[in-house]
Each structure stands twice: as structure tokens, then as C-alpha cells.
């Protein structure tokens, strides 16, 4: 038995099999159940240690050799796999409610498997190639064969593809810097190339304008999945760079760059969100602000920053699942997600609108919701390091709050005599209801996820210790 076979090759093969299935409910349930099973196995089944099942003795090896290179899943990466497959299970179960299962589940499995391959591949900078494959697989996910591809999809493809050459080149240059650490010119050149690569990959300001466009054009559930998994895996990949290169990790300029980029993302994402008149675009700016929070956590003292960095992940996954499911449900019944078209939607789709508003409030950092504990910890730590930076976080959060309350105001504006209906079906209502309960549980009892998150920093050799 081999860990890359179990968590990369098996899900990829399964995805190909699932493409043959047309039964939406079966796809969603089987996909969700298998992803959940893989998550549980990643968390609890030991790697590189023999264990017994009945009379059989099993040992799961951590590496697999392919074409002279290796895929390695370290035992310390188990919780990360559990997080990725656990969140994927949420998305797959939600796929039936969002009525996007036929394409979503098989492609979602493939994308998840490739993202894990990007974390597992050695040399690790080859991850850029796997991320590019994910980008290419995402194209059929976010477009339909019967609607013309918009500019958002095209720009998404261009920007994400341009990231790959920069990352690969920077990897080669960084090796040169390690060989001759005194060569400051080479260090500056490699840092610039690396920065450009991550600016494209993470869609750092001003390279994020495809996100709002994409959420105007694409099904929100599929786009939401993409906007969850791509930045999450890319951030882990980026943290891996910091872990491996001591000169990068110890560089004071890196802190400044990460903090500036994070604040730009958060402040512009928040402020732009406040002025939008389209529910999808607001979600896109929420995602941009989320990436800003993650970058800010990496700019802190990493003993504090890395636990906050991982604490942001579950809230992001759950919040985005609910937000995009809610938008998908609303979009199925209205011509567009513009404010003019969704006025009074609260009385027609109470569960969806409540889910959407609560998810956006969680992203803003409202107390009692999932986003609050990591944001509080982040804001507190940041304020100790720089009060100016903390002020800008406040500006971003204020923008996000304004956007949330504007959404609530618009969707609750309706004629005085219009009655209440429930436009969602029972499955959609249950999924949204459970998701909202999850938001509150993560907000009120953040320690519930500590069991999974506590071991995550150990996947890095130097960060967070």
C-alpha cells in the first residue's frame, strides 16, 4: 500500500469512473462519502507504520516513484489531506443541492487529487505544473457548452497559466541562491520572479479582476469550489517555499511584501465589495479579502502566524461552500444576481439568503461566526506589530460588513403585502441549515477543529516551531 496511490491515484481513477455515471444523487452521495472516507483515513490511518486489520498486516509507504521523480506524502501531512478531502466532501454533498453534480463531482475529485499531487511532488517546485493542470481542468467546470465563454474565464486561464513559468524559473534561480548566498543580485532576481509567479497564482492586487468577472459569468457553486481550492493549495505551496529557503524566511523584506500584499488585498477587497451591486461580485471580493487575511497571517511572527494561517482554512471552506450554494440556488430562479433582480429575495428563498448573508458576515469577522476566531487572533497579533496595518484591516472588515448589510437590505426589500415562501427544496434547506449551524459551531467553539489543526504546522520543518 502506498499513500500517493490512496490519496492521489485512486481518487483520480475514481473521477474517471464517476464520469460515466449520470445519476446526480448517486454521484453526489458516493463522491461525498468517498471523500469523507479518504479524509477520515488521512487523519487516523498511520503512515510508515505497520498495523493490523484482522489477520493482515499493512504498512502504508509514503512515497511513489514516477518517471524518476517522487510523490511523497509525509505522515505529518495527514491532517492537511484530511482537511482537503473533508472540505471536498462538503462540496460534493452540496453538489446535489446545487444541481451541478454531473460535472462537478468527477472534476472536483480530479482537481483535489492533482492539488494533493502538487503538495506531494518532489522536487516541490514541480507543483506549478500540477496547479496548471488544475487550471485547465477547471475550464469545463466553470463554463457550459451552451453559453459563450466570457472574459472572466479567458483571463482566469491566461493569468493562472502565466504563473507556471515564473514559479518553475524561480525554483531554478533559488537553487542558485542557495549555492551562492552572497550573490545579492541573483537573490533579488529570483525573489522578483518568485513574487511575480505568486502574484499571478494568488491573484494579488491588481491581478484579481478576473474573479468578479468569473462570478458574474460562471455557476457560483463551481466557481466557489475553484476559488476555495486554488488559493488554499497555493498558499500551502507558498508557505513551503518559505519553509525550504532560510534566506527567504529570514528576509525582513518578505515580511514587508507579504504584509503590504495582504493589506492591499484585504482593504481593496473589502472596500470594492461595499460598492458592488452584484451578489456574485461581492462573493469574489470576499474571496480576495480572505486571501489577504491568509497573507497577513504569514507576515506575522511565524510561531503565531502559522497556527492562525491554518485556523483560517476551515472557516474559509465552510463559509465559501454555504455562500456559493446559496448564490447557486438564487441564481437558478432569477435572471441575474444584480441587486435590481434579487430585491425581496429573502421572502422567496429565506434559507439561501440567510446562508449567503451569514457566510458573508463570517468572512467579515462577525462574532459568533466561523470567521471570527482567526480574524480576532490575526488582528490582535497584527496590532502588536503595526497599528497602521491593524487600522487597514479594520477598513477592509468595515467594507465587508457594509457589503453584507447592503445585501441583507436589498434582499429583504419587498412589497408590503408579499408573503413568505420557501423556494428551496428540502435538500437545499437542510444543506444550508446544517452549514449555518456549522458556522456557529466553528465560531462559538473554535477548539472543535483544534484536534485537526494542532498537528498541521508539523508538516513544515521550520515554520511555526
Amino acid at each position: 500500500m502506498n499513500a500517493p496511490v490512496i490519496w492521489i491515484i485512486f481518487p483520480a481513477a475514481l473521477a474517471l469512473l464517476l464520469m460515466l455515471t449520470q445519476n446526480k444523487r448517486l454521484l453526489s452521495l458516493s463522491g461525498g462519502a468517498i471523500a469523507a472516507l479518504l479524509a477520515v483515513a488521512a487523519q487516523f490511518v498511520p503512515m510508515e507504520e505497520a498495523f493490523r486489520i484482522g489477520s493482515m498486516s499493512i504498512r502504508i509507504e509514503s512515497s511513489l516513484s514516477i518517471l524518476g521523480r517522487q510523490l511523497i506524502i509525509q505522515p505529518s501531512e495527514g491532517p492537511l489531506l484530511a482537511l482537503l478531502y473533508g472540505a471536498a466532501a462538503l462540496w460534493f454533498f452540496g453538489a446535489e443541492a446545487s444541481q451541478s453534480a454531473p460535472k462537478f463531482v468527477p472534476l472536483g475529485f480530479l482537481i483535489n487529487a492533482l492539488m494533493i499531487a502538487s503538495i506531494a511532488v518532489e522536487p516541490f517546485l514541480y507543483a506549478a505544473l500540477f496547479i496548471e493542470m488544475v487550471v485547465l481542468l477547471s475550464i469545463p467546470l466553470v463554463t457550459s457548452l451552451y453559453s459563450p465563454p466570457g472574459k472572466g474565464v479567458t483571463r482566469f486561464l491566461i493569468y493562472q497559466t502565466l504563473a507556471m513559468p515564473f514559479i518553475l524559473l524561480s525554483g531554478w534561480l533559488l537553487a542558485g541562491v542557495e549555492a551562492s548566498p552572497g550573490n545579492l543580485t541573483l537573490a533579488a532576481q529570483s525573489a522578483t520572479v518568485l513574487g511575480l509567479g505568486f502574484a499571478f497564482l494568488l491573484s494579488i492586487f491588481p491581478l484579481y479582476h478576473w474573479m468578479p468577472m468569473l462570478l458574474e459569468e460562471a455557476p457560483p457553486f463551481a466557481a466557489g469550489f475553484l476559488l476555495w481550492i486554488l488559493p488554499t493549495a497555493t498558499l500551502v505551496f507558498g508557505a513551503g517555499f518559505m519553509d525550504r529557503y532560510s534566506w527567504l524566511r529570514n528576509s525582513p523584506e518578505l515580511t514587508v511584501v507579504l504584509r503590504s500584499a495582504g493589506l492591499l488585498m484585504l482593504a481593496t477587497g473589502g472596500v470594492w465589495a461595499a460598492f458592488q451591486n452584484h451578489l456574485g461580485r461581492i462573493m469574489a471580493y470576499g474571496v480576495i479579502a480572505e486571501t489577504g487575511f491568509a497573507l497577513l497571517s504569514l507576515s506575522l511572527d511565524l510561531r503565531l502566524g502559522i497556527p492562525i494561517f491554518f485556523l483560517l482554512f476551515p472557516a474559509r471552506a465552510l463559509g465559501l461552500t454555504i455562500w456559493s450554494l446559496a448564490l447557486n440556488i438564487i441564481k437558478a430562479h432569477v435572471p441575474s444576481l444584480r441587486y435590481s433582480q434579487v430585491r425581496g429575495a429573502l421572502r422567496k428563498f429565506p434559507f439561501a439568503v440567510a446562508g449567503m448573508v451569514l457566510a458573508s458576515l463570517s468572512t467579515s469577522g462577525l462574532p459568533l461566526l466561523a470567521g471570527f476566531p482567526p480574524r480576532l487572533a490575526l488582528w490582535d497579533s497584527l496590532a502588536r506589530a503595526s497599528s497602521d496595518a491593524a487600522l487597514w484591516v479594520g477598513v477592509g472588515a468595515l467594507g465587508l460588513f457594509t457589503a453584507s448589510f447592503r445585501m441583507l437590505a436589498v434582499t429583504s426589500m419587498s412589497d408590503e403585502y408579499s408573503g413568505w415562501e420557501v423556494g428551496e427544496n428540502w435538500l437545499q434547506a437542510i444543506m444550508l441549515g446544517l452549514g449555518v449551524i456549522g458556522l456557529f459551531i466553528l465560531g462559538v467553539f473554535p477548539q472543535t477543529v483544534q484536534y485537526f489543526l494542532a498537528a498541521l504546522p508539523s508538516m513544515f520543518e521550520h515554520l511555526g516551531h
Binding site: 514516477i66 518517471l67 524518476g68 521523480r69 514541480y126 505544473l129 500540477f130 496548471e132 493542470m133 485547465l136 481542468l137 475550464i139 469545463p140 463554463t143 457550459s144 457548452l145 451552451y146 453559453s147 459563450p148 465563454p149 472574459k151 474565464v153 479567458t154 486561464l157 491566461i158 497559466t161 502565466l162 507556471m164 513559468p165 518553475l168 524559473l169 531554478w172 534561480l173 542558485g176 532576481q189
Partner: protein, 205 residues
């Protein structure tokens, strides 16, 4: 490789990349793209064994064929095959500037890339620059795909000088094919949507 072959490769890349930028006819676009990969093959051959360099040209040809076959299904929007179409002078001037920058920057890139060779550096920079220029002037799915393939072709020629892993070559070939398939998907989506909207307007009339 002799200096003569390097010069042939550079000339081929300059001619095909400018032609890709200028032509409005999809058949010529596909042909120029396929020929461009011959130039990439000649550059890659300086640092890679024949078998690995061949992978690049075959993947590129397959990508060009995928795009051409998809485009050939769309017989309704036939393009005019003017020699120098509208905006051609602007494109030509921009291509000249890109070429100038590529050839000027080649020695610095060569130094940075640990002696990739000036021909490889110049050819790669030219392809990357022309691809980026192409991406900047169009948003048609086929042309965007060709622009991205051109950028990646330039990068591959340069990266071959520093990395000769079989896995990387295989993954880059998969990415090239995937890019062409994504482009084909977007082209098909645009065509089907157009047909659907035409049918709807006919029914409405």
C-alpha cells in the same frame, strides 16, 4: 548544433510568430503554429536529447491539430484571408518593438540562465514577448490559446537549458495538449451558444 541551424531556428520563430500575430485566417494560424514548433524543436535540441526534443514538437503539432479541427467545424464565421488585415501596421510595429527587446535582452537572459546560449535566449524571449503581445490584443478563444501556447513554447525552450527531467517534459506536453483542449472546449462553447441563440431567434420570428 551549428550556428547555421541556430540562425534558421531564429528566423523561423521570428517569421512564424509575426505571421501568427498578423494572420486572420485560422488555417494559416494553425499552420504557422505548427511550423513554430519546428523552431522550438531546433532550439530545444541544443540542450535536450533528440527523443525529448521530439516530444515538444509532437505535442505542439497535436495542439495545433486540435485547434484546427475544432475551428474547421465552425463554417459559419469564415474569415477573410487578407495579406495585411486592418490593424496590421500597428501589430507589425508592436512585433518589431518586441523583437528589438528580445534580441537586446538575450545576453542578460543568457547570463542569468547559466549559459543557455544566445540563440536559445533570443528565440525564447521572442516567443514569450510575441505570445504576450498576442494575448494583449485579442480575447477570441482560439487566439488566446495560440498566444498562451506561444508563451509556453518560449518558456519550454529556455527551461530545457536548465532542466532535462523526463517528468517535466511529460507534464509540459500534457499541459500543452490540455491547453489546446481547453481552447477547443471554449471555441465549441462559443459556437454552440451562437447556434442556440440563432435557433431561438428563428423560432421567435
Amino acid at each position: 548544433m551549428t550556428a547555421f541551424l541556430s540562425s534558421v531556428a531564429l528566423l523561423l520563430l521570428a517569421a512564424t510568430s509575426v505571421s501568427i500575430l498578423l494572420t486572420r485566417n485560422w488555417r494559416w494560424l494553425s499552420i504557422f503554429l505548427a511550423v513554430q514548433y519546428v523552431g522550438v524543436f531546433l532550439l530545444a535540441l541544443q540542450h535536450l536529447p533528440l527523443s525529448m526534443a521530439t516530444v515538444k514538437v509532437i505535442a505542439g503539432w497535436m495542439g495545433a491539430a486540435i485547434l484546427a479541427m475544432t475551428r474547421s467545424n465552425d463554417d459559419k464565421t469564415e474569415e477573410r484571408g487578407d495579406l495585411l488585415p486592418q490593424g496590421g501596421f500597428f501589430h507589425l510595429t508592436a512585433a518589431g518593438i518586441v523583437g528589438l527587446i528580445a534580441f537586446t535582452a538575450a545576453p542578460q537572459v543568457d547570463a542569468l540562465m547559466g549559459g543557455a546560449g544566445e540563440a536559445v535566449s533570443a528565440g525564447s524571449m521572442l516567443l514569450i514577448g510575441m505570445g504576450l503581445l498576442h494575448l494583449g490584443v485579442t480575447d477570441e478563444p482560439m487566439r488566446v490559446t495560440v498566444g498562451l501556447m506561444t508563451v509556453l513554447a518560449g518558456f519550454e525552450a529556455l527551461y530545457a537549458a536548465v532542466e532535462n527531467s523526463v517528468l517535466v517534459a511529460a507534464l509540459l506536453a500534457v499541459i500543452n495538449l490540455g491547453l489546446a483542449l481547453s481552447g477547443a472546449y471554449l471555441m465549441t462553447a462559443a459556437r454552440l451558444a451562437e447556434e442556440l441563440s440563432a435557433e431561438e431567434s428563428t423560432e421567435a420570428a
